[in-house]
């Protein structure tokens, strides 16, 4: 058993790609070894900016010899079959074994030296390596076929035991030599074997184990801060990134001018983190202090004083930019910033951000005044929505787009607006995807909900919907955001209703614009004909055109052909998102389907309550048996060509309050048996009970009502034959079954339930 070392040296590998590269090396090495029949145990895989390294312990020195047996044709088979088999195996007829009239080929594969396998595997791994972005370089790049790597590949160390594995790719040949730290030990160093690799590099100022470098940075940065009486703001992302940028990390504490602390702490942290990859520190009171920790890649001869001074200067330049923005932005009120939003296109078909803000403001106000978002002051909702996007035109958000919302909140407070409005501006983008904080303050909820509903309505109206992996406008995230806001805040609203408002808003605008343009064309036609119109006449013409466009038959057509389909599509999109959202909570997607399939249910809070009751019921014995009975009934009805039309459950409070059709009647019938009558009686009780329970939203009671049907339906299937030779009896029993399925459908569409 022998250890193997592989080092692939290159020019600086981007920090963000190193973890993926380690996984790729692991995967490709294992695949190559598996193909050669070599068992690989634990691998050590390390990365630095300048190298990927792999150590495989205890590889066998050779692969095992294997004997493979292939069954061929019968010896009595036609000669073509035998010829084909010989071709396939590469043997001659006398090498085959005839066992009881069947040919067998026994192929012995001798073992191969592992060193030989490795020499072939290394170039194959390098060629197959998938980088997020790769490049060509040097003389060889005159040809399109030249090797691609993340940055120029500069060296390969491949040692099996103490033996060099010779290989060459892209003009780089393997050897024993590598290089140490770029500045501390620029010369070549010779590696003897896997066992001295890490220590020889360490002696040359390279810590090859990325996890060790991460520990040095994590602990060193914390210590540098603690030594100055400060606390490091932990940031594991920065730890990993800095470990990916250094071979010999040295955390150093620096200070910046305290005057910069007037800038919001998030801005300072972001500037330090994103632009400079620095940690920030807190003082004893937990407030941001005027310090930073940078991670150098050298043990500087002066202990790092020059490095800290240089970094301080760069940070100061960045922070003075930030402070300049902070001061400039506050010179203008948010309401005035908001006026500039008409210069930003939201989407070419959907107008400017100012248009969107106007729609969102109306919608937020309506959500509050209609009581959909309870305890919310409509005026505040409208004000917050009008100002929510204003920070998009500020200098600070121009520089740091990720501060959108947050800066608006700061600026709102700075100009004396109340907390409800400032918080709503700050948090209205939330929740950004599942798992993010969900706002609960009423004004914030109204604006957050309005913003997302408007976005979804707009894009669905113009049929710009997510397809496959493409979701350029993040509509899935917006839909999840709506669901989280509704469910966490227990907001009761029929989505059909809640979507009609924003959709008519979007439509009204676009129809209005078209009418406006049409009217302007008319004005032009008048003028071309030599009749000039007064301003008053022009306005009148435009207003009339808009009114006409939005009224009468046009309006109905617009609502029927554009709004209705878009709304239906959006609601089923919500249903899909709801399944995704609820999967984590362990809610079954088929049960959500079963309730959605009834139609008319678009109050998601109520829907979930019903689904959860249904899930509990399905987990019970009664539920499982009732489902079996239902499936059997549905099958019989299907064979008899009777449709299992679900009775609509009715959605009190929704636009569509159309009650379910009356279930098929099963009149008293002379030929009925006791079993038939028992089922009929049970239905007569269960149906109204279930229906009333659904109306009152007592879903557990509705399930209990269904459960009362289990025994009679089981008895029915055990005791009578539906397809009785007597046609009248058969019709009667089919009617009973139709009523049974109808009753079940009053609670959920059981045909959607799996199992």
């Amino acid at each position: 058993m022998t250890d193997f070392l592989l080092e692939l040296r290159s020019e600086e590998i981007p920090a963000r790609m190193q973890a993926g590269a380690r996984a790729e090396l692991d995967k490709l090495f294992r695949a190559q070894m598996a193909a050669a029949g070599i068992d690989v145990g634990d691998l050590s895989i390390w990365s630095t900016p300048r190298r990927l390294a792999l150590i495989a312990k205890n590889l066998p020195d050779a692969t095992a010899a294997v004997s493979e047996e292939l069954k061929g044709p019968r010896s009595s088979a036609p000669p073509q079959a035998l010829e084909g088999f010989l071709r396939k195996t590469g043997l001659t007829q006398d090498q085959l074994e005839d066992r009881d009239g069947v040919y067998f080929a026994v192929i012995d594969k001798p073992g191969r030296a592992t060193a030989e396998v490795l020499a072939e595997a290394i170039p194959a791994i390098i060629r197959a390596f998938a980088w997020p972005k790769s490049m060509r370089w040097g003389k060889d790049s005159a040809s399109s076929e030249s090797l691609r790597w993340v940055r120029p590949l500069s060296g390969i160390v491949a040692i099996f035991g103490e033996e060099l594995i010779p290989c060459e790719i892209g003009g780089v040949a393997s050897g024993y030599a590598t290089r140490g730290h770029r500045f501390h030990c620029p010369g070549e160093i010779t590696i003897g074997s896997a066992s001295d690799y890490a220590e020889k590099l360490r002696a040359c100022h390279v810590i090859v184990d990325h996890e060790e470098r991460q520990t040095i940075i994590r602990d060193g940065a914390a210590k540098a801060a603690a030594d100055a009486g400060l606390t490091l703001v932990a940031d594991e992302g920065l730890v990993i990134e800095n470990a990916g940028l250094t071979e010999w990390p040295v955390p150093l504490l620096g200070r910046f001018d305290e005057a910069f602390l007037e800038v919001p702490p998030e801005v300072i942290q972001l500037t330090a983190r994103v632009n400079q990859k620095y940690f920030v520190v807190n003082d004893a009171a937990g407030k941001l202090a005027n310090g930073f920790v940078c991670t150098a890649n050298i043990d500087a001869v002066d202990g790092g004083a020059e490095i800290v001074a240089g970094n301080r200067k760069v940070l100061a330049a960045r922070l003075s930019d930030a402070r300049f923005f902070w001061e400039q932005d506050r010179k203008t009120a948010l309401a005035d910033h908001a006026k500039k939003l008409d210069r930003i296109t939201f989407h070419e078909k959907l107008g400017t951000v100012a248009d969107k803000v106007e729609r969102v403001a109306k919608l937020a106000e309506w959500l509050a005044s209609a009581g959909i978002v309870p305890n919310c002051d409509p005026a505040l909702a409208r004000q917050a929505a009008e100002l929510a996007k204003a920070d998009l035109v500020t200098e600070m958000v121009g520089e740091f787009p990720e501060l959108q919302g947050l800066m608006g909140g700061y600026y709102a407070r700075a100009e004396g607006l109340g907390d409800a409005v400032a918080d709503a501006i700050r948090d209205h983008y939330k929740p950004v995807g599942q798992g993010d904080d969900v706002p609960t303050a009423p004004v914030t909820v109204a604006v957050a909900l309005a913003d997302k509903l408007d976005t979804l309505s707009s894009f669905f109206l113009y049929d710009m919907v997510p397809t496959g992996s493409k979701d350029p406008f993040a509509l899935r995230r917006a839909a999840i955001g709506v669901l989280e806001l509704l469910t966490k805040n227990n907001i009761r609203v029929a989505l059909n209703w809640a979507l009609t408002f924003p959709m008519t808003g979007v439509l009204g605008r676009s129809v209005g614009l078209d009418a406006f343009e049409g009217a302007m064309g008319l004005v032009q036609a008048f003028e071309n004909a030599g009749r000039s119109l007064s301003e008053g006449e022009k306005l009148q013409l435009i207003e009339e055109a808009k009114d006409r466009a939005l009224a009468g038959p046009f309006r109905d057509e617009l609502l029927d052909n554009v709004l209705d389909p878009a709304r239906a599509k959006l609601i089923s999109f919500f249903a899909d998102r709801l399944k995704v959202q609820q999967r984590e909570a362990g809610v079954r997607h088929d049960l959500i389907d079963a309730v959605f399939a009834l139609g008319g249910e678009d109050d998601l809070v109520r829907l979930l309550a019903r689904v959860k009751a249904l899930q509990a019921f399905m987990a019970s014995d009664d539920g499982a048996n009732l489902l079996a009975g239902y499936k059997r009934a549905a099958n019989i009805l299907k064979q008899a060509d009777i449709s299992v039309a679900p009775a609509k459950a009715g959605a009190a409070g929704g636009l569509r309050s159309d009650a379910g059709e009356a279930p098929p009647a099963a009149p008293a019938f002379a030929g009925a048996t006791d079993v038939d009558r028992a089922l009929l009686a049970a239905l007569d009780t269960a149906e109204p009970a279930a229906s009333a329970a659904v109306t009152d939203e007592r879903f557990t009671d509705a399930m209990a009502a269904l459960a009362s049907l289990r025994a009679p339906i089981d008895a029915f299937f055990d005791g009578v034959m539906v397809n009785d030779p007597n046609e009248a009896v058969r019709a009667y029993r089919l009617g009973l079954l139709a009523r049974f399925t109808g009753a079940v459908h009053g609670v959920a569409d059981f045909s959607k339930i799996e199992g």
């Binding site: 020019e11 490049m135 060509r136 040097g138 890649n297 970094n311 200067k313």
Partner: protein
């Protein structure tokens, strides 16, 4: 510093060229980079290029933002195997000690939408400050670079500020006093330029004539391409690119139009590169058999 870099790269086989005599946004626009990075011929040059970025003007009030500044540009084709070492040697030559200062290669992939060009490389940090853009060109004008050229772009003002240890670009010493002759600072030379050009770029420049100039340059570029004089065509592409930058500084190009204008400039640059390749490809294939586009 420039003389040191000239001597350093001259000794490594680079021809020392002069700045291109047109208004360009970066050293990359010099035809010695754009056009010469195409094709199989070795090409090693170094030059200083004054660069104009109208939107970066700050009326002389920002310590390190300028609408006119200098880049030192080195092109090595094909990229040599020891390009990083050669580059680090140049930093030592101008006085940066890598055991005292923290030099780092930080991922920064370069892309020029107006040139239809991209490459992979790094921004080189010195104690956290970006001092050089280091790129392996992969495509230029939409064509693969075969072979790949290495491009080094030094920010001369930033490096000088570092070496002279000043915080404000205008405090840089341009020349030292000699006898009765006083020394000259960067501010003595350029502060007034920054004030006046910032004002012209942002407030004064006549947008109608800029738009007209853009159209004229665009038309002339296409004419020159048709007449098979790609070098002249490329001059017009550079002109159109700069006029577009000025129009942006004047704030008269909306977000939607911006992409459209960039695509028009890119078409001119690509057309010029294609015409350049067409005019040279016979000579290239004769001299480098087996070379293909």
């Amino acid at each position: 510093m420039i003389l040191t870099l000239h001597a350093y790269w001259g000794a490594r086989g680079c021809a020392i060229l002069q700045p291109y005599d047109m208004r360009v946004g970066a050293g990359t626009f010099h035809p010695a980079t754009t056009l010469r990075s195409l094709g199989p011929e070795p090409w090693n040059v170094a030059y200083v290029q004054p660069s104009r970025r109208p939107t970066d003007g700050r009326y002389g009030e920002n310590p390190n933002r300028l609408q006119h500044y200098y880049q030192y540009q080195v092109i090595l084709k094909p990229s040599p195997a020891d390009l990083q070492e050669q580059y680090l040697g140049s930093l030592v030559a101008i006085g940066i000690d890598p055991l005292l200062h923290d030099i780092r290669f930080v991922e920064d992939d370069w892309e020029s939408p107006t040139l239809g060009a991209w490459g992979l490389g790094w921004e080189v940090w010195c104690d956290g400050m970006e001092v050089t853009q280091f790129t392996y060109f992969q495509q230029m004008g939409g064509f693969d670079c075969k072979p790949v050229a290495g491009e080094l772009t030094y920010g001369l003002e930033r490096l000088a500020m570092y070496i002279q240890n000043v915080d404000n670009v205008y405090d840089l010493r341009f020349s030292d006093p000699v006898g009765d002759v006083p020394g000259v600072s960067y501010g003595d030379v350029f502060l007034e330029n920054e004030r006046q050009f910032s004002k012209w770029n942002f407030e004064v420049a006549d947008t109608d004539s800029l738009f007209a100039g853009f159209k004229a340059a665009e038309a002339e570029c296409q004419r020159a391409i048709a007449a098979n004089v790609p070098l002249a065509a490329y001059d017009q592409a550079i002109e159109a690119s700069h006029l577009f930058n000025l129009l942006q500084a004047r704030g008269v190009i909306s977000v939607q139009e911006r992409a459209n204008y960039m695509a028009r400039v890119r078409d001119l640059a690509k057309g010029s590169c294609k015409a350049w390749i067409d005019s040279q490809s016979d000579a290239w294939t004769a001299k480098y058999p087996g070379w293909t586009l």
